[in-house]
Amino acid sequence: MTSATLDHYVLISALLFAIGFFGVLLRRNTLVVFMCLELMLVASTLALVAFSRFNGTMDGNVFVFFILTVAAAEVAVGLAIIVALFRKRQTIQLNELNSLKN
């Protein structure tokens, strides 16, 4: 086992991003797609923290603060939209939600 370097962390973060990306592509349930979006955001924060640690700067760590805030706001609004959509259409399956009108 070699010591964990920046490459290791960025590779883990890229793999996590890839898993979230394929979740967005493959799943039809809007809620699960949304969870996979969150996974992608977390993967990007992992890369930021790793870069920050291995370059001895604070900027990446502080940026993660803002990402957390935006993610919280995004989840609140997104889930409200999903609930409103469900009230209107009685479904949240993506392949049944294919028209913008009615």
């Binding site: 086992m1 010591s3 964990a4 920046l6 290791h8 962390y9 960025v10 590779l11 883990i12 793999l15 996590l16 890839a18 898993i19 979230g20 990306f21 394929f22 979740g23 592509l25 493959l26 799943r27 039809r28 349930n29 809620l31 699960v32 949304f34 969870m35 996979c36 969150e38 996974l39 977390v42 992992l46 923290v49 790793a50 920050s52 640690r53 291995f54 370059n55 001895g56 604070m58 900027d59 760590n61 502080v62 993660v64 603060f65 803002f66 957390l68 805030t69 935006v70 919280a72 989840v75 609140a76 609004v77 889930l79 939209i81 999903i82 609930v83 209107k88 259409r89 399956q93 392949n95």
Partner: protein, 171 residues
């Protein structure tokens, strides 16, 4: 020991993230997301970002996953998720997979990221003063913008979830 923890947390994170994508039930997916976030928090600890690990657990695991579970149970949807893809989306998926594999393999074989000398780079440590100093000097304007963003998000959620008079909601 630290290396063992890194590999353990990394494997745990990736396995549970795969669980989010693979699980049929949305509640199971939310639980896997929770475990995956715990793994990422462990990696943050390995990177000496203790405060961020704590915040990640607090904000994501405490608030966001709880909100997801609440909505999953509120909507109580059918378990049927239809399978099969159209030609176009199948092509898009294959293209995306190809690009991703190419990118990751290029990165793994010839990636050389710019790193300071690890012996010279001091661990920043858990000093909360560093965060506070950055947030209230360099990033003061973004902090205020974040405040407005949260306010707007809150108002938007209230508007979205209010039942308007004369709306044709299906009861």
């Amino acid at each position: 020991m630290a290396n063992f923890l890194f590999y353990a947390f990394a494997l745990f994170t990736l396995a549970t993230a795969a669980g989010v994508v693979a699980s049929k039930n949305a509640v199971n997916a939310a639980m896997c997301l929770l475990l995956s976030l715990v793994g990422v928090a462990g990696l943050f600890v390995a990177l000496n970002a203790y405060l961020l690990a704590f915040l990640l657990l607090l904000v994501y695991a405490g608030a966001i996953v709880a909100l997801f579970l609440f909505i999953v149970m509120l909507l109580d949807m059918k378990e049927t998720e239809s399978r099969g893809f159209g030609k176009l989306s199948l092509a898009a998926i294959i293209l995306a997979a190809g690009l991703l594999v190419t990118g990751l393999s290029t990165f793994a074989t010839r990636g050389r990221l710019p790193v300071g000398d690890p012996a010279l780079t001091p661990a920043l440590g858990p000093d909360i003063k560093l965060y506070a100093y950055q947030l209230f000097t360099t990033y003061l304007l973004p902090v205020q913008v974040m405040g407005f963003l949260l306010l707007i998000a809150m108002l938007g959620v209230i508007v979205l979830s209010k039942r308007w008079e004369g709306s044709d909601d299906v009861k």
